[in-house]
Symmetry: C2
């Protein structure tokens, strides 16, 4: 197997120029760049619909951007963008298209997979969602004692959890119903037990979300849900179960009635699925009209990504800046700080999106790569994060590029809080960039500055702006993966752990199986668990 | 100013030997190490009280451990450990001791700061907590309409939030009262409004936790709490306010009555304060008897750390392995995965502890250092994390050392869930270490393995085991900081952002102040916010 230090399809000349350029630019403090060029902020910021994106506080000049664009062009990025929208099977290792853009396309925008207009399938399923949500909101979905359902428990994990959980919470200002929604994902049953405690079996509906309908955590939790319903005297389980899956038969066998089975498709990856019926909890919370606004917000970003030349293309620009830090400054992390309590799940959501998509080391030609791919994505909400991790950003040693995200306006009546929130967010990007020298006698008080960040302002946190924002990250992730020449849509790395956990689970149930050989560490851990759980 | 590539007080010979040794050891796959030495797991694991710690799945041999210990000894680590317990002012930049060990010491174990036996102060405050908690649990703490308090809202941020929030939630199996506890920390008022929605002003008590009683977020939230109480007709504010602070006067001026002011001390850092009255929400949830178990759990680890020789000293061993990855393998991150829903705050808590303590680049002699200090700490609960980030761990490019944490037994009646949870946890460390080769024709399916992890088993998640666990991380963090020759107890890096946010906050209130000059990016961001919030 060959190994590659430069992505195979990048013109090596372009990559080497960036290596050289990095050495020059790293000598220049960001605050000097601002002094040298008064037009810098205008040059390196863009407005799109109701997003304002400032990427001027980065270690870039016009030359950097131009070199990055040349590098990107050498990989035929524009063709790759056309290719994904064409429905080509760009997920080569699983022989699938990555057609999540169809999930948010207007009905007259046709996308094709295997010659089939999938937009039509999507809109038929949206209609299905609409009918269900209307019935539910009208109190016409009823439990086994004929009381209207007033609580929904979403059982799903990974993509079937993070996306709907993020958006349902983020958009609670747009709620049109008082139906309680809980999310259960962990196989640790503290999770589902906590949801049970807050719910009444007579009026609770479970959404079982799993593309394969075999996800171990989800099926075990669904079985425990059924047990709970039965123990509480439920004699009509089918009134309390709903499934979102690509495996209709398995859902039906589990006891979900046909009209409660919502479909997703093989050409939708789990981490891109919140736009589909996996997003049902979102639609239940905010109603279908707002859900369509959410889809439209994403769809306008799709259009931007598909149509704009690379130099004006926001996902492209941001992805190239990511590449700049990861491959030329050797950053191993990237931080996401939404200054918004309602976006508390965003770092986790973006973390899954990028780390699962681009945490790869075999390229599309089967070669081992020796350049870095996905960084660790981490973060937390501001201002909390300031009081926990920002010390490291300001005075620590790793270089961490940061995304700050905040909405300009707030729905709150007390504007003081929001002004302070805004002030803190803007002050942090300024402080990270500028730093300051307090004292030569007390060097521990000095802040070096020169730390890069992007600031994304939303006019307001709305279904449309959230849709655009998430879609921006999706395509940014795609562009990164394209440059790295990897398959952003598979996830083979998680199979081995799943297989081994079945073996160990069996051993924990039956006692250690001497025909199975583990390393001595795993052996001892299993024995220790068996001994201690017996003695407890 | 000088710059240092090796910590100044480390014998350079020891450091260079580790550099050389790393080159040799990185050629050897972990699974080969296990094959070569059947006694490896036994050699590299330790039991302490009810913790079992396996660190055999690391890139270490006996030689590595010996070289790391020699390096540590060259810095007089044992003396440094004695020194912190002696109450010396090891937080040099703030001229303070770091005497959080006194917070959990038994009454007859005397610790001194400035010649004063602080254990006595601590126990007097513990008595104060006991009296209050008993009154509260008996329904004898009453609101302005004379109804018993049944809801507590803790207002605090950073150390005054993460610690109590973590432990209050983690130990809910040990709850002795049904008093509702909410945590508010963000200056975004969605946070406090959400707590208001779940509370009745007649029966709600606010704990205002701030060492300085000037923390902007906390004071603004406390003011909003007072406003809420007043708007709801509360005429006896003092019945609803409690403070934990080192600034008695400010709390009193805010309207907190003397007996409701709980004291903390200058020799307690915020991120080490959950053992003090900052932990009041924990004591309210689990009662004082369990709270003492929690303190004792930590105290036994203090004793271990203080007394054991370095080669048997768990915080020392784990810290040296951390250093091994950070300084010799150049890892920029470290992941924490508790396989326990109740420990969902642990990654954030440990993140603050380590990143705020050791995110530094000036050493104790005022020199700029050029070796790496604190990595980015990240993580999430298992099994959720498996479905979001583990792809990167298995097949991504950055080397991420992992801590797996799980309790062997579970309080749940349905043991199936817990067995699956255990199996998943153990399987992940096995898969990360071993990897596997599925196919030479489909290299994207292969898992390279060779990824390191520590597994920490708790017999059960209890006040005592949680106390020991958190204390283990505290001392591990201290040892790291000692080796790096930095002050782990200050946090000067966060001052600048605080100062700038006051300026920008004023501008957002009054309109842009043309006498204040920002960089063009920050200028435009402020103007954009002013324009858009006017037009909205």
């Amino acid at each position: 197997m060959s190994t590659y230090r430069t992505p195979k399809h990048v013109a090596d000349r372009c990559w080497q120029e960036l290596v050289k350029h990095q050495k020059n630019i790293s000598r220049l403090h960001l605050k000097e760049m601002f002094k040298q060029d008064p037009g810098r902020a205008e040059k390196f910021s863009r407005e799109f619909n109701k997003l304002y994106i400032d990427y001027s506080k980065h270690h870039i000049t016009e030359e950097t951007v131009s070199l990055l664009l040349s590098m990107a062009k050498s990989t035929d990025l524009s063709d790759a963008i056309k290719n994904i929208f064409s429905g080509a099977k760009i997920n080569q290792t699983e022989n699938n298209a990555a057609m999540h853009m169809a999930l948010r396309a207007p009905a007259d925008k046709h996308y094709f997979v295997d010659g089939r207009n999938v937009t039509e399938l999507v809109h038929s399923e949206l209609q299905h969602m609409q009918e269900f949500v209307e019935l539910l909101h009208a109190g016409n979905v009823k439990g086994y004692t004929n009381k209207p359902i007033d609580t929904v428990i979403n059982i799903g994990i990974g993509g079937s959890d993070l996306g709907p959980r993020l958006a349902t919470y983020a958009l609670s200002d747009f709620a049109v119903s008082s139906i309680q929604i809980h999310f259960v994902s962990n196989i640790d049953d503290r999770d589902i037990n906590s949801a049970f405690e807050q719910s009444d079996p007579e009026t609770t509906l479970f959404i079982i979300s799993s593309k394969s309908f075999t996800t171990r955590e989800t099926i075990l939790n669904a079985e425990t849900a059924v047990k709970w319903l039965k123990e509480n005297g439920c004699h009509s389980l089918e009134k309390h179960l709903l499934a979102v899956t690509a495996n209709h038969d398995a859902a039906k066998e589990f006891g979900v009635k046909d009209e409660n089975i919502f479909h997703i498709w093989e050409w939708v990856g789990g981490r891109y699925s919140l736009w589909s019926a996996i997003g049902l909890p979102i639609a239940i919370r905010i109603g279908m009209e707002h859900f369509h606004d959410f889809l439209n917000g994403a769809s306008t970003m799709d259009q931007h990504f598909c149509e704009q030349p690379l130099e004006n293309n926001l996902p492209v620009i941001l992805a190239l800046i990511d590449i700049w830090y990861i491959n030329f400054f050797h950053s191993q992390t990237h931080a996401i700080f939404p200054y918004d309590q309602a976006l508390n799940m965003l770092p986790a959501y973006i973390g899954q999106l990028i780390m699962e998509s681009n945490g790869k080391q075999i390229d599309n030609d089967g070669n081992k790569i020796e350049y870095n791919t996905s960084p660790v994505i981490w973060g937390d909400i501001g201002t909390n994060a300031q009081h926990a991790y920002f010390q490291l950003l300001h005075q620590g040693t790793p270089l961490v590029p940061v995304d700050f995200i905040i909405s300009v306006t707030s729905s709150s009546e007390n504007k003081n809080h929001h002004k302070e929130l805004l002030a803190n967010c803007l002050a942090q990007s300024e402080a990270l960039m500028n730093g300051n020298t307090v004292s030569s006698k007390a060097p521990y008080k000095n802040i070096p500055g020169n730390r890069p960040s992007t600031t994304i302002l939303l006019h307001e946190l709305s279904p449309a702006s959230l849709g655009s924002l998430l879609c921006l990250y999706e395509h940014r992730c795609f562009v990164q993966g394209h440059i790295w020449n990897i398959d952003s849509f598979d996830q083979w790395g998680v199979k081995l752990g799943k297989n081994l956990s079945k073996i160990i689970s069996e051993e924990l149930r039956q006692g250690k199986d001497n025909n199975v050989t583990h390393d001595s560490s795993t052996e001892r851990l299993i024995s220790y668990c068996l001994n201690k759980s017996e003695s407890s």
